[in-house]
Symmetry: C2
Subunit: 167 residues, 2 copies
């Protein structure tokens, strides 16, 4: 029943940048989702899982995002960090990381269709009922439309920065 199947469970972790501060700042909630996955799902069974990190980059509204490509972008650094972690034998989970540009919910659903993960992990902000109206649309959309099971990791209110610009 609980015998290990041949193929590892493939987990797609969608990472985006801060919605308020904008690209290239990573959203805190997304790293929380990754840490949660390792701690609660993968645990010590590093050979049983494969991590797929999808970094979604939202293009600037004015269309001028050429500047970003001059710098080695923080998204690149995050991918390197994930790759380093993946290579780090003390972590030991197989993985891949890549970047796509566009509307996060469309990109995520498209990539789910393409890579067919066993499930998708998304971070979402743990906000009050009032704030909930304005956020969380990416995870709600994906829970409904992605072609695989979706788990949204809400952040503790205690971990929410006072200043939303820091998010």
């Amino acid at each position: 029943m609980a015998a290990e199947s041949a193929d590892p469970t493939r987990i797609l972790v969608a990472v985006n940048q801060s919605t308020i501060k904008g690209y290239p700042h990573a959203s805190i909630s997304r790293s929380g989702a990754f840490e949660w996955t390792v701690k609660k799902i993968i645990r010590s069974n590093t050979s049983g899982f494969k991590l797929l990190f999808l970094h979604v980059q939202v293009p600037d509204e004015d269309g001028f995002d050429d500047m970003d490509s001059i710098y080695a972008s923080p998204a690149d650094f995050m991918i390197m960090k994930h790759r380093d972690r993946i290579k780090d034998s003390s972590f030991g989970v197989a993985g891949e990381a890549w970047v796509k540009k566009g509307d996060p919910k469309e990109i995520i659903c498209h990539e789910v269709k393409r890579v067919q993960p066993d499930f998708l992990v998304l971070g979402s902000r743990g906000l009050g009922p009032f704030q909930k109206v304005f956020v969380g649309t990416v995870s709600e959309f994906c829970a409904k439309h992605a072609d695989c099971p979706v788990i949204a990791i809400k952040r503790n209110v205690a971990e929410t920065p006072q200043d939303p610009v820091e998010d």
Copy 2:
């Protein structure tokens, strides 16, 4: 990083009866959610997880559900089956199972508050866009309101019975 923490990951699996056929018929989609959890999450790491089976029984609308208690209900049998499975050393995952009566979404959110699982697994029917309007409210409600991460396991369309009464 991926070191096993002392406490196992506690997974609440909510099991309800068929919405159409009514209590005491188990919903097919719910057993799919359980099988998925074992295959894709627990895998061979049986000591890393604890399964909590919440069976939700919806009271008859007319209030006469005394008849049900005359029979050893199928819910009882399901719990016994889960308990047997839990005791079966070839499965080897620690677990508990219990029944609550009431509105599934309210019961589930209440039990999440009470037992504080690491995450909640729910089955949901894999239906077309038209049918989606009428179903899936339990998982959508819980994804929004439960005080823990929620993963909804959609059933393959191929596994959906032709006759909804069989569901």
